[in-house]
């Protein structure tokens, strides 16, 4: 939509651009202020945090971060988060990528049913799956294990993988694999050696988007873990239950450390964000 720049005189165009920048700057302030403020708090001493009026200029301290990094609870939760997120991503990719390829390329009986099931899996409320899952998992001794969280995460990461990858497979020209078939390669060999190498950017995008969702999950982990297996969001929620107390420095520093990896992942996959968000409803 570059057309509006043609509208009106030069003067009115300048006024328009000025107005747009003004609005954008105002919105940026509104949207970023909470984040900036929290990062600020994390760099203050306890005394500085509760000073009124709030300190706007101070010598930043990293003592809160040092405290967090040396806290056994945080390190353990970080490790758990890393393990269950990457486990869920790995499982969903291994299981979901071939399915996405089959859905994109081959007509088979039950294809639309499978598709419908995946859509339902992504859209239906997590809590409704979690209640029976908790009962079943606890009866086979799976609750409080990281494996239970990984399995639970596939309820959202598997549909996401299939959706994103299906889009990538559909965009891939058929000629390459067809020529491999003609050369006598099996469907399996063509998939592994011809299609997968070509689709690498898609695989990376799907991994990152899944990782982000798994890293951010709270509900499944809150129900399926204990103090030894809890993930970072569960630890963060434990901080905030009831009174927030006076440990604001440590809590904000932990918060910043939790969101830092996701922000980095997200920027890495920014181009593919739309495909992930709309789960295939809009072709990204």
């Amino acid at each position: 939509m570059s057309a509006p720049s043609r509208v009106g005189s030069r003067r009115s165009r300048l006024v328009f651009a000025g107005g747009v920048y003004l609005a954008l700057i105002a919105l940026t302030v509104v949207f970023l202020f909470p984040l900036v403020w929290i990062v600020g708090l994390s760099l203050k001493t306890r005394l500085q945090i509760f000073t009124m009026p709030p300190l706007l200029v101070w010598r930043p301290t990293l003592e809160n971060y040092a405290g967090v990094v040396h806290s056994a609870d945080f390190v353990q939760a970080f490790t758990n988060s890393l393990l269950v997120s990457s486990g869920a991503v790995l499982l969903s990719m291994i299981v979901g990528v071939p399915a996405a390829y089959a859905i994109a390329r081959f007509p088979f009986r039950g294809r639309s049913l499978l598709f419908f099931g995946l859509l339902a899996m992504r859209m239906l409320p997590a809590i409704a799956v979690l209640v029976p899952m908790y009962v079943l998992f606890s009866k086979i001794g799976l609750t409080t294990t990281r494996l239970s969280v990984i399995l639970a995460y596939t309820t959202f990461s598997l549909p996401l993988v299939v959706w994103i990858m299906r889009g990538f497979f559909e965009d891939l020209p058929r000629e390459l694999e067809e020529s491999a078939w003609v050369d006598g390669a099996s469907r399996y060999a063509a998939f592994v050696r011809v299609v997968l190498p070509l689709i690498r950017p898609g695989l990376v995008a799907a991994c990152i988007l899944c990782l982000q969702l798994a890293w951010n999950d709270f509900l499944f982990a809150a129900v399926l873990t204990n103090n030894a297996t809890r993930t970072l969001p569960v630890l963060m929620a434990a901080f905030s239950s009831g009174d927030t107390g006076v440990e604001w420095g440590g809590m904000t520093a932990s918060g910043v450390l939790v969101i830092l990896p996701v922000i980095i992942f997200s920027f890495a996959a920014q181009r593919h964000l739309v495909a992930g968000l709309s789960s295939g409803a809009v072709k990204g």
Binding site: M1, A3, P4, R6, V20, L24, F31, L35, W37, I38, L41, M52, I94, V95, G96, P98, A99, F108, L114, G117, L118, A120, L124, P125, I127, A128, L130, V131, P132, Y134, V135, T155, L176, S179, A180, D183, S186, R187, Y188, A189, R193, P197, L198, N216, F218, L219, V223, P233, S240, T244, W248, M251, V258, I259, I263, L277, S278, A281, V282, K283
Partner: protein, 317 residues
């Protein structure tokens, strides 16, 4: 294009493998059969996993919702109680209240997210220097772990030490009063998810054909006229998708409410997910929780049905 070249050499390697395979007729017929089963075998793991983590649990909770069952009992030793759990739910004021609050909360948050998101998308679509910087910065809130976002806002809204009260010079206990708690939670949610809508709609705006707008500009249409009569109708499919996705996600809102209010004060933020969570995992009434789950499932299936109907009707979306 070195990706394609990599594919080419892979195809060459395949050629030798295939010639070797052809040499042995017995292996050939088995592998031909296997080859025909490719699609079926490729979707098998997904199907199994889906049944395991989704199909079986949902069927089990349907069963559980007609039973009187407590966690000490073995899986199938509950007592059949017919529709008692559902009748109890329908006479429970907390549940009925949570249905009303969920729909109200969903309506408020989705409407505000769409309005703010559309505004953001329109601004970010204008081609000006530095605009990509704003595009990057303004979507930051949606990337943040929801629990952390909610937790940060809890500190910002703290009645005594929070910056919000300091800035507006008040001492309102935002999350501790029934009349402000739901609104506060909704505002935080708006902050986090308006960028989500903005990204979806921005992708829509970027893909619109430029000819109609250029033609209108030549005809001397004002910006407002162009927006109202050209951009908005063209953008409609994207708005519908954003609307339905947000509706489905807000309907099951949980993380932010759990952290900020835990359903309180006085049940004023008790959405359905929160109600089901507390019933199942705090009161440990799992058969009642299963009934609440199925009530929720039926309501969101209706929403999903709507979603699918819209997607099917507009294929090129």
């Amino acid at each position: 294009m070195h990706g394609a070249m990599g594919g080419g050499s892979a195809a060459a390697r395949l050629g030798t493998a295939a010639r070797r395979a052809r040499a042995d007729p017995r292996r050939r017929s088995t592998s031909a059969w296997l080859d025909r089963q490719f699609a079926r075998l490729a979707v098998l793991p997904t199907t199994v996993l889906m049944l395991l983590v989704f199909g079986v649990p949902l069927l089990f909770s349907l069963y559980l919702s007609f039973e009187g069952w407590s966690p000490e009992q073995s899986l199938f030793s509950g007592r059949f109680v017919g529709t008692d759990n559902y009748q109890d739910l329908l006479s429970d004021h907390a549940f009925l209240g949570s249905v009303a609050i969920t729909f109200g909360y969903t309506a408020i948050t989705v409407a505000s997210e769409l309005l703010v998101g559309l505004g953001l998308a329109l601004l970010l679509d204008i081609d000006l220097p530095w605009i990509s910087l704003f595009r990057t910065v303004l979507i930051l809130p949606m990337m943040i772990t929801p629990v952390v976002a909610a937790f940060c806002w809890k500190l910002l809204l703290d009645p005594d030490h929070g910056i919000v009260n300091y800035l507006i010079g008040s001492n309102v206990i935002w999350l501790g009063r029934p009349d402000t708690a739901l609104l506060s939670v909704a505002v935080v949610n708006l902050w986090q998810n308006a960028p989500y809508v903005a990204i979806l709609l921005l992708a829509g705006l970027r893909s619109l054909p430029s000819e109609p707008i250029e033609a209108a500009a030549i005809d001397g249409a004002s910006r407002l006229q162009m927006f109202w009569h050209i951009t908005l109708p063209l953008l409609r499919p994207y708005i519908v998708v954003a609307l339905l996705l947000r509706t489905i996600f807000e309907f099951r809102a949980f993380d932010n409410i759990y952290v900020m209010t835990n359903g309180g004060p006085a049940n004023s933020t008790m959405v359905l997910s929160m109600f089901t969570y507390l019933t199942s995992f705090v009161d440990f009434d799992l058969s009642m929780g299963a009934a609440a789950s199925w009530a929720m499932l039926l309501m969101s299936m209706a929403l999903c049905g709507l979603f699918i109907a819209v997607i099917r009707r507009r294929e090129p979306l």
